[in-house]
C-alpha cells in the first residue's frame, strides 16, 4: 500500500533539512514514538505505539537511512514487529523537500506492508491511521519550526 502526503512549513529548506536529519530529535515529533536510539551509522532502533481499530500495538524495529541528498531527498527503510498482536510492518520511505512560496514543501511517499493480525482490518482503516499520524506529525513539525524557540 502506497501512501502519499504533502504539506508546507514556513521555514527555509535548509533549516527543515537540518531538523529532519537529526533522527533522534525528529522522532520525538512522530506520534506514538516511545524510544529511539542510534544503532550504528544511519541505523536507529526504536519503539512505536499505535492503535488500529480495536487493537493496540507496540512495534519494535529498525529504521535504516539508505540514501540522502541534502537538502532535497531522503530514503529510508523501516522494519518492525509487534509480538502481542503478532504483526509485522515493512515500509520504504521517501521524503522530498522543495522550496515553496511560503517556505518548504515536504512530500512523503510510504510504501507500507503490514502483516499479521493488524492487517486484517483492511487498507481503509490502515490508511486512515497512517494519514492521521502524518497530519499530526506535520502539525507538530510546523509548530516546532515556527516557534520562537525553534532550533
Amino acid at each position: 500500500m502506497v501512501i502519499r502526503e504533502a504539506f508546507t512549513v514556513r521555514a527555509p529548506v535548509e533549516r527543515v533539512w537540518a531538523f529532519l536529519e537529526d533522527v533522534p530529535r525528529l522522532a520525538t515529533y512522530v506520534p506514538g514514538v516511545e524510544a529511539v536510539e542510534e544503532a550504528g551509522p544511519d541505523r536507529y532502533r526504536g519503539r512505536l505505539a499505535v492503535r488500529i481499530g480495536p487493537i493496540s500495538a507496540r512495534f519494535e524495529g529498525v529504521v535504516r537511512i539508505i540514501r540522502r541528498e541534502p537538502p532535497a531527498r531522503l530514503e529510508a527503510e523501516i522494519e518492525g514487529q509487534d509480538g502481542t498482536s503478532a504483526s509485522w510492518v515493512k515500509a520504504s520511505f521517501l521524503g522530498t523537500l522543495e522550496p515553496a512560496a511560503e517556505g518548504t514543501r515536504l512530500a512523503c511517499e510510504i510504501d507500507l506492508t503490514l502483516r499479521g493480525r493488524l492487517a486484517q482490518f483492511g487498507s481503509a482503516v490502515l490508511e486512515a491511521t497512517a494519514r492521521r499520524m502524518i497530519h499530526a506529525f506535520a502539525q507538530r513539525l510546523q509548530e516546532a519550526l515556527e516557534s520562537p524557540h525553534a532550533p
Binding site: M1, S87, R115, G122, S123, A124
Partner: protein, 743 residues
C-alpha cells in the same frame, strides 16, 4: 402435473423465519471450538513453532501442528482431489497469507483465541510471486520446490489448421483480458463439525460435495469409506466455494487428536477471503475474420492463477479451462493453450460460472472489438457465426441442442436492439451491449438416487444433492412427483447423508437438476415396473396387461379395475418398496489435442443491457438488463426465473465491483465493508428474464447460464456509450474515468 409449476421452495418459510438449522445451529454435547493459526507471510520458512505456551492456557484441549503427523497411526499430511500437494497444516513452509500452521481445540472461543495468540512461530521470509504471468517465468520464485516455473499443468486444444485460418482472414484482432481473484461471499461462512467414535468418523459439513469429502477423509486416515459419514445441513449459499474439500481434513484431524469430543470450526468472515478464491486469469485472444464477418481462426492462451495449491484446477484444465474460453462459434481453426500456475495467494477453485465467466469476459468483449473494426452490428456478427444444431464444436463434438442464437436474439429484443437509439449528449451517455456464452458441465460424472415408497403413501427421495438455497430439493421433488404421479405434498426429500443416500458426484456445474433428475426418472421407472410385478398377482392378471396411472395400477382398457400403490404394499405386507436410479456420463478430452466429449450437453445463456455512464465520475448505472437462458424444460418457472435474476445480480457484482486486493500477498479488503457486493440499489431499473424451452429438449441446469454474459454485455454497452474499452475486471468508475481521460 408437478413439472412446470411454480411451487415455492420447500423450506422457504423456515429460511425466512430463521427456523432452518444451519451448521452453526447444531449443538452436540461436549462440543469444542476450533481456531486456526494462520501464516502472516505469503512465502516463508517456518524456523520454529512452539505450541507449549498455548497449552498452558486454561480451556485449551488440543493443538494440532505438523508434528502430529509423524506419530504412529497418524493420518497423512497431504491431500488434494487431483494432486496431493496441500498439507492439512503447514510443515516447514507457508505459501500464502492465511495458510493454516496450527489448529486449536478449546472449551470456549475465548480460550481458543487466546491460545492462537500464544503460539510462537518464527518465520524466515522467502521471495514470493503473485500474478500468474510473472509466476510462469522460469526465473520466478518457486512456490513448490519440485515445480520450476510454477506451471503445474499445460493443456492443449488443437482443431483445424490455424495458420491457414489466419491466412484466410482479412483482419486479425488480438487482445488481452484479465480477471482478478474474487470472494464467493456466501451469506453462511464455511463450517465443519467432526467427531470420532470407535474408530469411525462423523463429519457435519456445509459442503457441496459430501461424497468427495468422504472419499478424501477415508484416504487421509486409511479407512474404508463406510467408516466416514458425512452429513450436510442446509447451506446458506455455496457458489462453488464449498465445492470439493475445504476445511474437513483440518477439523477431522484436530478431532482425531482430541479423541472423542466433537470439534466445531466456523470461519470468521475475514478467513473466507483466504480459504478459496476465483482464479486470477490472464487471457490472450487472437481471432481471424473475413470482411463479411466469417470467423476463420481463433487462438487463445490462458494463464490460470491457481494460488498456492492445485486443488481442483488440474481437473478443470483438462476440459473446462479449454472449452469454456472459446465461445459458441463455428470456427474452422481453434488452438487453446491453458496453463495452471502456482502463486503465493490463497488457493483458487470453483466459482459460480467457473472459467466460463473469465472466458466469456474475453471472447464476448473481443467479439465487439471485431464488430467495431469491421463496422458491423455486434448482433449480426454473432448471428453469422453462432453454432447451430448439427454444427461441430472445436472439440469435434456435434452440438445437437443449440439455441445460442435464440437466447441472444430474445435478450436483444427485450432491450429494443433493432430500434433507433439516442445515446445522449450531456454528462450522461447511454449505450447498449449484448453477449452470449457456452458452458460445459462435468464431462464425466455419476448421480444416483433411491426412491422409497412407504405403505403410508409417502414417497421418500434419497439424494446426495445439496440444498443451498437454490431450490434443488424442490425441483427434484417435483420431478419425482411427476414421474411417479404421487402428489408433490407426499414426496419427502432425505439427505444428503452419506450413510443414508446413494452416491452423487457433487452439487455444482449446474448439474443437479439434469443429472439427479435423470437418475430419479430411472428410479421411478423401476419403481413402477416393480409395482406392476407386485400388483399382477393381486389382480390375477399378467404384468404385461397392467398400466400405471395416478399412483395406482390399472388393467389395460379397464380403468374401473384400479388399485392404489399403497394398497399393493399393504396386501403384500410390505413396509416399503425401493428402487434405485443411476445416471452417468462418460466424456473426456484427449490431453494432447482437446478432442473428445467435453460435456453431455451445453449450457447456453445470453444477456443484453442498456447502461448509462456518467462521464464526469465514470460511474455506470444499469438501466435495463435482460437475461435469457436455454432451459430445455422448465421444472419450476418461479425458481428458474430467480436463478436467472440471481445470476444477473451476481454477475453485476463481478462486473463492476468485486476483487480481492492483495498487497504483497496480504488481502487488504477481507471484510464486507471494503469488499463490495451489489446491494438492491445497484440493480437495474428493469430486470427481465427469458427461459427458452424446446419440446424435444432435455432438462438443463440453470444455476449459471446467464452469469458469464453479464460482464461483457455491460462492457460492450459502456463501449457503445462512451467509446472506452475496459479489458481488466472489475469495471470500476476509476478505470472508466482514466480511460476517458486518456490515461
Amino acid at each position: 402435473m408437478a413439472i412446470g409449476r411454480s411451487v415455492p421452495v420447500r423450506d422457504a418459510e423456515a429460511r425466512v423465519r430463521g427456523a432452518v438449522a444451519y451448521l452453526a445451529d447444531l449443538r452436540l454435547p461436549g462440543m469444542l471450538t476450533a481456531k486456526i493459526v494462520r501464516s502472516p507471510f505469503p512465502h516463508a520458512r517456518i524456523r520454529h513453532l512452539d505450541p507449549r505456551p498455548a497449552l498452558r492456557i486454561p480451556g485449551v484441549v488440543a493443538i494440532l501442528t505438523a508434528e502430529d503427523f509423524n506419530r504412529p497411526g497418524a493420518p497423512r499430511l497431504f491431500y488434494g482431489v487431483d494432486r496431493k500437494d496441500q498439507p492439512v497444516v503447514a510443515r516447514d513452509r507457508v505459501r500464502y497469507v492465511g495458510e493454516p500452521v496450527a489448529a486449536i481445540a478449546a472449551e470456549t472461543p475465548e480460550a481458543a483465541e487466546e491460545a492462537a495468540q500464544a503460539i510462537e512461530v518464527e518465520y524466515e521470509e522467502l521471495p514470493a510471486v503473485f500474478d500468474p504471468l510473472t509466476a510462469a517465468k522460469p526465473e520466478a520464485p518457486r512456490v513448490h520446490e519440485d515445480c520450476p516455473g510454477n506451471v503445474f499443468l499445460h493443456t492443449r486444444l488443437r482443431h483445424g489448421d490455424l495458420e491457414a485460418g489466419f491466412a484466410a482472414a482479412d483482419l486479425i484482432v488480438e487482445e488481452t483480458y484479465t480477471t482478478p481473484p474474487a470472494c464467493h461471499a456466501a451469506l453462511e461462512p464455511h463450517g465443519v463439525i467432526a467427531q470420532w467414535a470407535d474408530g469411525r468418523l462423523t463429519v457435519w459439513s456445509a459442503t457441496q460435495a459430501p461424497f468427495v469429502v468422504q472419499e478424501t477423509l477415508a484416504e487421509l486416515f486409511g479407512l474404508p469409506r463406510e467408516a466416514v459419514r458425512v452429513i450436510v445441513p442446509p447451506l446458506g449459499g455455496g457458489y462453488g466455494g464449498k465445492g470439493y474439500v475445504r476445511l474437513e481434513p483440518l477439523t477431522a484431524v484436530l478431532a482425531w487428536k482430541v479423541g472423542g469430543r466433537p470439534v466445531r470450526l466456523i470461519l470468521e468472515r475475514s478467513e473466507e477471503f483466504v480459504t478459496l478464491t476465483r482464479h486470477a486469469a490472464w487471457i490472450r485472444i487472437r481471432t481471424g475474420v473475413r470482411r463479411d464477418g466469417t470467423l476463420t481462426a481463433r487462438q487463445v492462451e490462458v494463464y490460470w492463477g491457481a494460488g498456492a495449491y492445485a486443488d481442483i484446477t488440474p481437473r478443470l484444465l483438462r476440459s473446462a479451462g479449454l472449452v469454456r474460453v472459446v465461445g459458441p462459434y463455428r470456427i474452422p481453426a481453434v488452438h487453446v493453450d491453458a496453463y495452471g500456475v502456482y502463486t503465493n495467494l490463497p488457493p483458487a477453485g470453483p466459482f459460480r460460472g467457473t472459467m466460463s465467466f473469465e472466458g466469456a469476459w474475453a471472447y464476448e468483449s473481443h467479439m465487439d472489438t471485431i464488430a467495431h473494426a469491421l463496422g458491423m452490428d455486434p448482433l449480426e456478427l454473432r448471428r453469422r457465426n453462432l453454432l447451430r444444431p448439427g454444427d461441430r464444436f472445436c472439440t469435434g463434438e456435434v452440438i445437437e441442442e443449440a439455441f445460442f442464437w435464440e437466447c441472444l436474439e430474445a435478450a436483444a429484443r427485450h432491450v429494443g436492439w433493432d430500434q433507433p437509439y439516442e445515446k445522449g449528449e450531456g454528462m450522461r451517455r447511454r449505450g447498449r451491449g449484448l453477449a452470449v456464452m457456452m458452458k460445459s458441465t462435468l464431462p464425466r460424472s455419476r448421480s444416483e438416487c433411491r426412491l422409497v415408497l412407504r405403505a403410508d403413501g409417502v414417497l421418500e427421495l434419497h439424494t446426495g444433492t445439496v440444498e443451498m438455497g437454490q431450490g434443488a430439493h424442490t425441483a427434484l421433488a417435483q420431478i419425482a412427483a411427476a414421474e411417479t404421479e404421487i402428489p408433490l405434498e407426499r414426496v419427502q426429500v432425505i439427505g444428503p447423508d452419506t450413510a443414508q443416500v446413494p452416491y452423487d458426484a457433487t452439487t455444482s456445474a449446474s448439474r443437479a437438476t439434469s443429472m439427479m433428475g435423470a437418475a430419479i426418472r430411472e428410479a421411478a421407472a423401476r419403481l413402477k415396473e416393480e409395482m406392476r410385478r407386485r400388483a399382477a398377482p393381486l389382480l390375477e392378471v399378467d404384468p404385461e396387461e397392467l398400466i400405471l396411472q395416478g399412483a395406482g395400477v390399472t388393467l389395460r382398457g379397464r380403468p374401473e379395475v384400479w388399485i392404489a400403490w399403497e394398497e399393493v404394499l399393504r396386501r403384500h405386507g410390505l413396509e416399503a418398496l425401493e428402487a434405485h436410479g443411476v445416471f452417468e456420463t462418460q466424456g473426456g478430452l484427449d490431453p494432447e489435442t482437446g478432442q473428445g466429449i467435453a460435456s453431455p450437453h451445453w449450457h447456453q445463456g445470453a444477456g443484453a443491457c442498456e447502461v448509462e455512464v456518467d462521464i464526469e465520475t465514470g460511474k455506470v448505472r444499469i438501466l435495463r438488463y435482460c437475461a435469457a437462458a436455454y432451459a430445455g424444460r422448465v421444472i419450476n418457472p418461479a425458481l428458474a426465473t430467480l436463478q436467472n435474476e440471481g445470476n444477473m445480480v451476481f454477475g453485476l457484482g463481478q462486473a463492476l465491483m468485486e476483487q480481492i486486493f492483495f498487497d504483497q500477498g496480504q488481502p487488504l479488503n477481507a471484510n464486507m465493508s471494503d469488499y463490495q457486493i451489489p446491494s438492491l440499489r445497484d440493480l437495474p431499473e428493469v430486470l427481465e428474464s427469458v427461459l427458452l424451452e424446446s419440446p424435444e429438449g432435455s432438462i438443463h441446469g440453470l444455476g449459471e447460464m446467464t452469469l458469464p454474459p453479464v460482464a461483457p454485455a455491460i462492457a460492450n454497452a459502456i463501449f457503445d456509450a462512451v467509446g472506452v474499452r475496459i479489458r481488466d475486471l472489475p469495471i470500476t468508475p476509476e478505470k472508466i474515468w482514466r480511460a476517458l481521460h486518456g490515461e
